[in-house]
Amino acid sequence: MAIDAATVRKVARLARIAEPEERIEALTQELNGIMTWIEQLAEVDTDGAEPLTSVVATGLPLRDDVVTMGGEPEVVTGNAPKSVSNFFVVPKVVE
């Protein structure tokens, strides 16, 4: 299941990271090295093993569906790279 340059370009696109063309070859090699090392997991017999998604054997806690905090738009937008009147400024996405 070798990773080729086209796969690296596709994954970078999915991850929304611009990777310049000159980096693709090196990245292909690096990711291949790591994935080849990971392939050894195929040796493990996992028949009947339940995937372990949570190490804590407790259920998810529930709480009342009420507002617990909010009403502070200036705080929420305080770190925004661009904001106007307590709104985030984002690029136009609908023509």
């Binding site: 990711l31 493990v44 937008t77 770190n79």
Partner: protein
């Protein structure tokens, strides 16, 4: 006043209670030490004014008889914990100017108990690394050097700033986090004590997320007792983190110094890895001998899936990271780079804002979660994770705690492993299993190698049984009599 920085946390808290000195004096001494140690690059942000204000407030509380368990003790904070009004960067460019409007639960708990914040400590970018070299602010230099050498060594990572600051007496203790070994490996490399508690002991709320099912906060400290004292304050249920355990926190300090007579200690044969330095094997043997001497029964055990823990980790952790770090989009906070359209803005922002190791892990995580590969990689890794947890479940039928080395080597030179990602990943070979299984693990210094560098032993405990871990660690600490400190060259 340099004598004040040599104190342990317990010694300092006792001294404050006895009115031998004030928190302002104690804090001032640490601020001076930090100013003199900038060459180590342990602190990436010093907050001396805030520290002195907190110290004065502590002295006032103490005068009124209202002192908390850590009142007046100056601590360092890994820059992964959000601190209200104080820049928090995860040592990344993308959060270079991020100033949280809220305080992490763990640091809130420390301030509630009276501690004083000295500043923010360096780490590998987004806690991804084992040498502190992926930090956007440059690596931390280990206060320890090999005998007769000036070579700069890594303090380990990701909590390299926390470990170096504690080792160099630049704070009485520090917060840290551990996803695959990031508390314990740096502790081993710097002659300090670090514990990753059971997953869910400490709230993750307000800690910049890396891999949420593995991330866990814990302290780095000068002694086992200090680590217990800090963990007392850091732990506890928090309704803002749904994985935080709603279970009473015992007083961990009560377990330090308790007899370990009759405890069964497991020694896993799979941890004798090829190429492990003889000195580390010797230290491990010493640990076994000390515990036997203290009345423990030593039991050889098998954890057969140990060698698969790191490859499973390098699926699970990057997968969770790729999901967690999707939030850095340049819209709501953090860096924004411009582009011709929305997709380009995202891509340019993330390309400029993340370092190479972070990008590498996001790409791996995106790949293993992408259509057609999810079952082959991610699901498979979660099943292997189950096998690793079962290994430990089997072990707990025979033993009460497990003793292993913490890391496969002593501190290595900065730059020595940075060209080979897998060589760097292997640093976590002994620590990563407990993250996958959610178990508590503690590293404490137990000896020096031939070059005079510290080596650590790890104690792994049953879920929620940090108490036994602290008892065993206390017994080893007493037997090892480790008192060495790095010679001051900085």
């Amino acid at each position: 006043m340099s004598a004040l920085t040599k104190l342990t946390l317990k010694g300092a808290v006792d001294g404050l209670a006895a009115k031998d000195f004030t928190s302002v004096e104690l804090t001032r001494a640490h601020i001076d030490a930090i100013e003199g140690a900038r060459g180590l690059n342990a602190y990436i942000l010093e907050t001396p004014d805030q520290a002195l204000e907190m110290a004065a407030a502590s002295d006032a509380r103490r005068a009124k008889g209202e002192a908390g368990p850590l009142d007046g003790a100056p601590l360092g904070v890994k820059d992964l914990f959000c601190t209200k009004g104080v820049r928090t960067t995860a040592c990344s460019k993308i959060l270079e100017n991020f100033v949280p409007a809220y305080e992490s639960t763990v640091t809130s708990n420390l301030w509630r108990d009276g501690a004083v914040m000295l500043g923010k400590l360096n780490l590998d970018q987004f806690a991804m690394g084992s040498s502190n070299e992926t930090s956007y602010f440059g690596p931390v230099t280990n206060p320890w050097r090999a005998k007769g050498s000036n070579k700069a060594l890594t303090p380990g990572g990701s909590s390299g700033g926390s470990a170096a600051a504690v080792a160099a007496d630049l704070c009485l203790g520090a917060t840290a986090t551990d996803t695959g070994g990031s508390i314990r490996q740096p502790a081993a490399f710097t002659g300090t004590v670090g514990i990753k508690p059971t997953y869910g002991r400490c709230s993750r709320w307000g800690v910049v997320a890396f891999a949420s099912s593995l991330d866990q906060a814990g302290p780095i400290a000068k002694t086992v007792e200090d680590a217990a004292l800090l963990l007392n304050s850091m732990s506890g249920h928090d309704e803002k983190d749904s994985t935080s355990l709603d279970i009473a926190v015992p007083d961990f300090t009560q377990f330090v110094g308790k007899s370990v007579k009759g405890l069964r200690i497991g020694v896993p044969k799979e941890y004798r890895v090829d190429g492990m330095p003889a000195e580390i094997q010797k230290l491990w043997d010493d640990g076994v001998a000390w515990l036997k001497e203290a009345g423990c029964e030593i039991v050889e055990i098998s954890l057969p899936h140990t060698k698969y823990a790191l490859p499973a980790y390098y699926i699970v952790a990057p997968a969770e990271a790729s999901s967690n770090l999707a939030r850095y989009d340049g819209m709501r906070y953090g860096l924004r780079e411009e582009g011709a359209n929305l997709a380009e803005i995202y891509e340019n922002t993330r390309a400029a804002g993340f370092g190479d190791e972070v990008k590498r892990r996001i790409l791996i995580g995106t790949y293993v979660l992408s259509a057609g590969y999810y079952d082959a990689y991610y699901l498979k890794a979660l099943k292997v994770r189950r096998r690793i947890a079962e290994d430990f479940d089997n072990a707990w039928t025979k033993v009460d705690a497990i003793l292993t080395p913490t890391a496969p080597s002593a501190a290595f030179g900065l730059g020595e492993n940075s060209s080979d990602p897998i060589a760097m990943y292997l640093n976590d070979v002994f620590t990563v299993t407990t993250n996958l299984a959610g178990l508590p693990g503690l590293s404490l210094p137990a000896g020096l190698d031939a070059n005079g560098l510290p080596l650590g032993l790890q104690i792994i405990g049953k879920p929620l049984d940090e108490g036994t871990v602290f008892s065993v660690a206390g017994a080893i600490e007493k037997a090892a009599g480790f008192t060495a400190k790095a010679d001051k060259w900085w």
